[in-house]
Subunit: 375 residues, 2 copies
């Protein structure tokens, strides 16, 4: 980056408004990441955004701001999305085209939450222009795209990082520490439930088209595939069975509202269910759960809500041979943003192994493709 371009006052201003912005936009990841964002960070790289079709882009920007990024420019095709985004980040320059961003030599890293099926081609263009790339999940929507991304990444030696909830979740990171310390013995299986609220009135057209969104298993399941591989340490996963279908939303014929997958691998077993059935009575968008079963205990995470229980998010329960307890995760640091900025500078893989990232994507793509159609 050109350090002279850096405007410290604007950076701090952007950072300071982040809590409010995130809360208003309801990205769902606010409470877990707001605390660590309070401190000021000296920017170390320049980054830009291309594609703001999903609201997740706000959390992505916040992570990189916090990690040491200087947000210099962005491009989005849709005027209404651009308008809201500009208000939130008034000091990032609105570029006239995608190419203007890609050809800006001062840009180190490009973030994107474009329409899912457009993400991989964009990421390839970004890498071919010498940029690293961090993208919302699903970061790749077909096996052909995966092959192309793998090839371009190897050719360019750039970073292609796909952001899933583990990057932003104190409870999942805490579970990682506990499992690593042997708190539940050897992991036997993970079960991940990812219910989501559909909110059809607020969704763009591509949301209802499984080809464009990647399909429910590939899209939402990104989180659960990541958590399965991360907690079991599996490197050779296998889709034992998978199902997908449109059970109750047939007015959208290309939509999928239910999916589930049974997994097995060299590190353990896994099961995941994803759906769009979160009811309106729930105070959040989805009662996401993760249960990690070990030979000497288990961990349950209630990611977003403890129904009729404790307030807030990130509820972790641990039961093992010695004890059972509720574990407070509020002091856990979330380092994905900082590590990714480190990786951009040092050409390392501390935020997420590149092959690991592709393996998570590949597993989701295979499960989505292999899934039997139901309903």
């Amino acid at each position: 980056m050109n350090k002279n371009n850096f405007n410290r006052r604007n950076f701090i201003k952007n950072t300071a408004t982040s809590s409010l912005g995130l809360a208003v936009l309801g990205t769902g990841s606010l409470s877990s990441i707001s605390a660590p964002y309070i401190k000021k960070v000296t920017p170390r790289i320049n980054f830009s955004v291309i594609g703001i079709n999903h609201g997740h882009i706000y959390a992505q920007v916040e992570m990189i701001l916090k990690g040491g990024g200087n947000f210099i420019s962005f491009y989005g095709k849709e005027p209404e999305l651009v308008s809201a985004f500009s208000k939130r980040y008034p000091n990032a320059k609105l570029a006239g085209s995608e190419n203007e961003v890609l050809e800006d030599e001062s840009v180190d890293l490009i973030l994107s939450a474009s329409i899912p099926d457009e993400r991989a081609p964009l990421g390839i263009r970004a890498m071919l222009h010498g940029k690293d790339f961090m993208v919302d999940k699903p970061g790749i929507t077909t096996l052909q795209q995966l092959e192309d991304v793998r090839y371009a990444q190897k050719k360019t030696n750039r970073i292609y990082s796909i952001n899933t909830e583990r990057c932003e979740s104190q409870s999942i990171v805490k579970a990682g520490e506990l499992v690593k310390s042997g708190a539940i013995g050897k992991v036997v299986q993970t079960i991940g439930l990812g219910p989501h609220r559909m909110n059809p009135g607020s969704r763009p057209e591509w949301f209802f088209d499984a080809e464009r969104s990647g399909g429910i298993i590939c899209d939402i399941g990104s989180h659960q595939f990541d958590q399965y591989l991360f907690f079991t340490g599996t490197t050779k996963p296998q889709v034992v069975a998978a199902q997908k279908g449109n059970i109750n939303n047939t007015q959208y014929p290309l939509f999928e509202d239910f999916g589930d997958v049974m997994l097995r691998g060299d590190g353990g077993m896994g099961y995941l269910r994803v759906d769009w059935f979160s009811p309106d009575g729930l105070k959040t968008w989805g009662d996401g759960r993760l249960t990690i079963l070990g030979t000497d205990g288990y961990i349950e995470i209630r990611k977003n809500i403890d129904i009729e229980g404790r307030p807030g998010r990130n509820h972790l329960f641990l039961v093992n041979q010695k004890e059972r307890k509720y574990v407070d995760c509020s002091d856990v640091s979330l380092n994905y943003g900082q590590q990714l900025v480190d990786d951009v500078l040092n050409r390392t893989e501390t935020a997420m192994g590149q092959e690991y990232c592709f393996l998570v994507a590949e597993l989701g793509l295979i499960a989505q493709k292999k899934a039997q159609r139901i309903g």
Copy 2:
């Protein structure tokens, strides 16, 4: 039954000691069934017990005492089991042989918790002797046994009832009422988790032999298969995939400590996981869960414990389009025992449809057989 044989004083005495006895023996079903057992019941049939190898027999006896049974005799092969059982039911006559019970014309109903692979042959003998039969799960351990039981049942027109936890669970019965009333719309899927504590030191030899116990999916899974069929209303179930294995107890080479099954049917989908990994730090034998996902809401049951939450058992959480709430299940009546006694008298199927009972068993047997071996 011969009404003159009935000894009312002894019956009341037996019933009055049930709370203490059940608590000491730890059948796990006490708190859900103790309240409705307080009232005195006029006995309407005679029943006996053959086979007391599993402690579940105590809960079975309590249910039938409460339902209107007069406990007249029992037979067990094992002196140490007989001794404890006699102390608990001093007024039931210890028979000298199985045949003595089978040939007693005053006996209407026989209960059994014998070794699982001996249950179906015993049940067939009981039916051929004109008795109805109520047996602990798994009530049948091979598909050949199922065929034989089906044939004998049809031939004799006797009752063959397999007892699962729904018969004894206020929260599951309550969930049934809620689902029936439309509280969560149409059921889409059930997920049942059945972790159990292994306690190897307290287990008899047959426990470690999957052939004798029926295998983990057929045995423990009985509950989850029943709940899947009951809540989805599926009549044509299909095992999409199943896995079974011995992950961490290879010192017992014939044992299975993990199993899971993915299901689909005309009424909805299902998944179940069963295991023997409950850690010692858990206050109960297993953190059993049932999640019923509907098109307009979901129900979660924490069957035995709400870890670090509310005391007691039978925790039901309901979230739908209008509200989310914790539902108290303490006033729910458990009618299985009374209905089974009614059925014995009236030749009806109010406690459990005979074909339904066989369908639950068949699903478990097919899943157990089809399961891929892991570990």
